[in-house]
């Protein structure tokens, strides 16, 4: 190998250092650029009436996003209610019941693969298995689609969080004569409860801006979302899509940006809250 001069080696090193500093700068700058754009355009739409009135077709004044906001809350919370119990139980199975070791390895693998599945496929799946049999688009179908996306995320975080609980705790509980169920639920899950909450919130923040599956399931409607179980239900992501791609009017674009601002703030707030909770947990130990 030819010997390189010290000058060459040093300048290559310096070049790479500059490049990597630049790369971080680019990534962070793009983040601020996107958030800044959303705030600048979105804040123009924010008026009290924007949060009170339901969305209206173009031309009718005083349209808002209240119905879509409530619809999104219904759909995401519905998804959390559907996904959380089985996902927690599944996570317990992966972490606590080592007698299913082989089977668990397969399921863990399946969960990891499912976490990377395109959300649009989930939309197709729920469309054929829920929307077609029941005969109508509904908020519930949207919730089911989002629940399928949340399920593996909660399951895997639950497993990781339970895995952090020291074994001595389980052994002490069992030695006191508690059954395995009570040990798991009252001792292990209890001491990891902040971690479990983190997993659920993380999954919530991931799905609350999810759009593709809702296009096939919840759809959209310019009315209040009281028909959550059997009618198309208004929601923010689909509203943004409709207003920004299918409409040439500046007024609709403005409303779309307003909705985008609300979604961004919502998602970032959940995300930051999750980090704070988890950090407290880490410091607490």
């Amino acid at each position: 190998m030819k010997k390189k001069t010290i000058f060459f080696r040093k300048s290559a090193d310096r070049l790479v250092r500059i490049a990597s500093g630049l790369a971080v700068a680019v990534a962070v700058a793009v983040m601020f650029w996107i958030i800044f754009t959303v705030f600048r355009h979105g804040s123009a739409a924010l008026k009290p009436s924007f949060f009170i009135n339901p969305s209206k077709p173009y031309g009718i004044p005083d349209g808002g996003i209240a119905n879509a906001l409530i619809g999104t809350v219904f759909i995401t919370f519905g998804a959390a209610v559907l996904a959380t119990p089985p996902a927690l139980l599944g996570g317990i199975c992966l972490s606590e019941y080592k007698e299913f070791r082989r089977f668990n390895a397969t399921l863990r693998f399946a969960a990891n693969v499912m976490m990377g599945m395109p959300s649009v496929i989930v939309g197709l799946f729920v469309y054929t298995s829920v929307v077609v049999p029941t005969g109508n688009f509904s908020g519930l179908a949207g919730s089911i689609a989002l629940a399928i996306i949340m399920f593996p995320v909660i399951m895997r975080t639950t497993e990781d969080m339970l895995g952090m609980v020291p074994y001595a705790l389980r052994e002490s509980a069992l030695a006191l004569g508690l059954t395995r169920t009570r040990t798991t639920v009252q001792i292990v899950c209890r001491s990891a409860r902040k971690g479990l909450l983190t997993g659920i919130l993380l999954a919530l923040s991931r799905v609350s801006g999810e759009t593709a599956p809702l296009l096939f399931t919840a759809l959209f409607a310019d009315r209040w979302p009281w028909g959550y179980f059997n009618q198309p239900t208004a929601n923010l992501p689909v509203l943004i899509t409709e207003y920004s791609t299918n409409s040439p009017f500046a007024e609709m674009h403005r409303a779309g940006w307003g909705a985008a601002l609300v979604v961004t703030v919502l998602v970032l707030a959940i995300n930051v809250a999750t980090r704070i909770i988890f950090r407290e947990k880490k410091h607490g130990h």
Binding site: A27, M31, L107, G116, V120, T179, P237, T245, L268
Partner: protein, 308 residues
């Protein structure tokens, strides 16, 4: 008392098994729903170029090519950026590194629809007014001998290149986060020995950290690839949604995911079956990529000495 104990155990197992059932369900259901198109065209569906709802002819090639090209562009842009950003974050002073790391993690949390909107209203006009004229008229890339015709000279801001750029911004934080973990896994002893014999930081990164974590890096690449492949909304807004074979990088095109989102609500009969078939293709592709990603990431965690 012991009865309820075993009941709980089986309940847990059943809940966990749900994930496996769902995964199988995806495959079975998409295969059943797309059976009509496979019976009509056979595997030729994958290689056919026309998508003509009026005459009821369908082919998957334009969407597949669009997906592959946008994914490739996004990886070419995102990978070097993510790699050097992760190098910086690993070596940065603790406070700065932590703050910047959190900022990049937040980039991953922004929903894809926001990227789509930003792409539509900010990036696409920017591409049309500045970047693409610069590529075409100032650099004259389209008159290059061999590659010129793949770059093209007609532009309107929408197309494969814009979609690729949006995707690269989206997958950058994912790749960066995994790479950072992989770099941190290198035993400090190895790095310190390299410094000790006089390696510069870059030489240590390239010859020690990179080699030590090569499997983790491959895993990170596949995770990013999987993200880019299935991304729907961000691409839908900027790709132009043209169902023809793309001629060059600047021309409008479509990807599998954006075809699904765009056409599914109005489709019926054979077209709906064709869309399900496209869904099956996408599912198979991302399934394969996820398996590779898990294989490489699993291999690194085994090296780390974890029990699983």
């Amino acid at each position: 008392m012991f009865k309820s104990d075993s009941f709980f155990k089986w309940l847990c197992l059943a809940s966990a098994a749900l994930i496996g059932i769902l995964m199988l369900g995806f495959f079975i259901q998409l295969t059943v729903s797309s059976s009509e198109i496979w019976q009509t065209y056979g595997l030729g569906f994958l290689a056919s170029r026309d998508w003509d709802p009026v005459n009821d002819h369908y082919g998957a090639l334009p969407s597949i090519v669009g997906t592959l090209v946008t994914t490739t562009i996004s990886l070419i842009i995102a990978l070097p950026l993510a790699f050097s950003a992760a190098l910086y974050l690993v070596d940065a002073r603790p406070l700065i590194g932590e703050v910047l790391g959190h900022a990049i993690d937040l980039l991953a949390a922004i929903p894809s629809i926001i990227y789509g909107m930003w792409g539509l209203f900010v990036l696409a006009p920017l591409m049309q007014d500045y970047v693409e004229p610069f590529l075409v008229e100032t650099l004259k890339l389209s008159s290059l001998p061999v590659v010129g015709k793949y770059i093209g000279s007609d532009y309107n801001g929408f197309g494969l290149l814009t979609a690729g750029i949006i995707l690269s911004i989206m997958i950058l934080p994912y790749i960066c986060a995994i790479l950072r973990d992989v770099f941190l896994m290198t035993p400090p002893m190895l790095r310190e020995s390299a410094y000790g014999i006089g390696c510069t930081k870059w030489e240590t990164a390239k010859d020690i950290v990179l080699r030590y974590g090569i499997r983790g890096i491959l895993g990170a690449i596949f995770i990013g690839l999987g993200r880019a492949l299935g991304e729907t909304m961000a691409v839908l807004f900027v790709i132009g949604n043209i169902m023809d074979m793309p001629e060059n990088l600047l021309s409008g095109a479509t990807t599998i995911a954006s075809t699904l989102a765009n056409n599914f609500p109005e489709a019926d009969g054979l077209q709906r079956s064709a869309l399900f078939a496209l869904g099956l293709v996408l599912l198979t592709m991302s399934f394969g990529i996820q398996i590779l990603a898990q294989y490489y990431l699993h291999a690194t965690s085994a090296k780390r000495g974890e029990e699983r």
